[in-house]
Symmetry: none
DNA sequence: TATGAATGAGATTTCATTCAT
DNA sequence: CATGAATGAAATCTCATTCAT
């Protein structure tokens, strides 16, 4: 890849992390990269395009991990589904690993994307999770005909699931510690699934 | 109170809600209120001052409710503390009531305050909760000498407690429904306290 | 005199001294005086009028002292003129006394009047001195027919004479010390008169 | 150097000379240069930066001349010091030459810099002179043990020395005439040194 | 491939002044 | 006698974007 493009990406990541998308100055990004203002427009469409280039690898990796996990879940029968705790752990670990691999970028995505085309990234991930949750909940529901799904709580849990990760990466900079911290939290979440999301139809 | 000041406040609230603090245009706020740009500076210090005037009532009401709840908790012995579920419900209801009373303003505070002097409002509330949690946890810990406190999870629960409310108000516009939704969630949170925050010292 | 008018003058003097005429804020002046913005326009024409009211007493006193001194000089014959050193001392003392009596106001007049109708006050005083110097020089010249007047130096001396006072008041806050300091300087100036201002016609 | 930058500098110098730093309008400067307002911010940091660019060459030239003169003085013994009148004349001429070379700019610096980063330029020059005067006075004092230094008059003479130049350039637009006028004045100043600055200790 | 220059629209803010009451 | 409200014009500055070279 072109040297200057890489320099631009590096200083852009730095600037976005410091100032956020909107307050980031293209002039400063270019100066820091040893280039001039117009250079950005050779390599990228515009400010948003630059931002996209900064985050796209992390974005697609994260999406890929989540999607893959969901697909594997989807192929399981309900009976199998009960025993996928190992899968779930593996998924959590892989996700954590990716989040910390792209640490700065993920931070940008989570806290500094306002105004950019990725400002809804977290929401979109939550939506993905939400849809998956709905599918899984439907399976559960068909297995327990006397239970019904609490839609709102289901949404909240999708939110919570992702929030557990975002809170972690914004508060614990070390991956190893993060891994230890996330486990009891995930268990707590799983427990909530059965306790909260499925409620008695009679109520 | 002056008529035009009120108009200014109304159109400011509208603009802040639509665009967020930073992208909100004073020009537009004033034009919408039928005034000229400089008028803001008669009634308020500056853009931040205007924002403050828009949110201050809600802010102090919310803080007052939380603080009052914490003080009442502080005056209870540990034995009593076990039986304060009613208090807790009352607190939750009062808070929900305030949040929905100041619906738009709360939404601004939660999602549109970036760049203003209130951009850390949610964090400051979480901190208040966090400190209270630490006190309560210390009481628990002294009651169960073989348990220790998981600090990170404690922080996360403070975050979660507030998040339960913010998620609610950003996803459920009707107060009555909100009240029904929040109850099982609060119970789930309380359960987490004993399950997650206090762990065996031996581990 | 009206109480509020007096208050206005006091806080105006303070503000002008701190910020200078242009940067002084009428709003602040009025607030400090416990009044509102429009009040100034009842008592005074405008900002310049207020400034004028602040300085006028000092201005006319200073002008009166100088003018009176010049008039007394004008009534003397050349022979007498040689012996007016005492007069000169008395003048110097009276001027110093007035300058320190109106200390703050004089400071404003000398260093903070830019932009006001009095921004040329010092220049106008220099002009008065200059004109007097021209008269006196003409008398000298007619007494010494082989000498001619160096016009530029004459101007500069007028400037210097005043500058000696302005430098003094801007650098020495105590009147007594000022009086001691000014004497040798005045002597030095007087000496320059004969040495510098009148030069040989042949040259 | 860029054409438009030069145009900007030219119209800025004109505007600063007419209105002074604070009242100068960037809009007008840019319009006069045939550019838009923002253009200034490509070439310069801000209004102050533009002002700096307008005056910096003159400033450093003037400082350099004064500093060089002081250094050469510093290397002389007291005996030699008595015979440096030629040096002094050369210095005066060089300074006058520079002042008139940068005529407009010097005028700006002397009378129109209020509010800019150069508003204390004259004072800083006076300070330089003052410090040099102190050194020289100390040499004199050690040569005449029965004399003491009059500090205030010393300061005033530093002021006067510079004032002689500023008065000249603000009142006499022709360099040749200026050169003729400054000589007797400098002599008068030198004479004052021995007469005024050193006084009998007994007094 | 990149530069350097410049645009143009917008932003907030300041302030003396006016005027109905 | 004074208030309180509002104006309106101007100010500096920021910035993504464009484009000829």
């Amino acid at each position: 890849m072109n040297d200057n493009k890489e320099k631009l990406l590096v200083s852009a990541r730095k600037e976005f992390l410091e100032k956020g998308f909107e307050k980031a100055s293209l002039r400063k990004i270019c100066t820091d990269a040893g280039l001039t203002t117009g250079a950005v427009y050779f390599f990228f469409q515009d400010k948003n395009g630059l931002f996209g280039a900064v985050v796209e690898e992390a974005v697609s990796k994260i999406q890929e991990i989540i999607l893959r996990h969901f697909e594997s879940e989807a192929q399981e029968s309900f009976a199998e589904y009960q025993h996928t705790e190992d899968d779930h752990d593996a998924f959590t670990e892989e996700l954590i690993s990716a989040l910390y691999y792209y640490y700065d970028t993920v931070l940008i995505l989570l806290t500094k994307a306002q105004g950019s085309e990725y400002e809804n990234f977290v929401d979109s991930v939550i939506n993905m999770v939400d849809q998956q949750y709905q599918k899984v909940a439907a399976i559960y529901a068909s297995a327990y005909p006397d239970k019904k799904i609490n839609e709102y709580v289901l949404h909240w849990f999708a939110h919570l699931h992702i929030n557990a990760f975002t809170h972690l990466i914004t508060h614990e900079p070390e991956e190893q510690k993060a891994l230890q911290l996330i486990r009891p939290i995930m268990n707590y979440l799983i427990q909530g699934w059965t306790d909260l999301i499925l409620t008695d139809k009679s109520v």
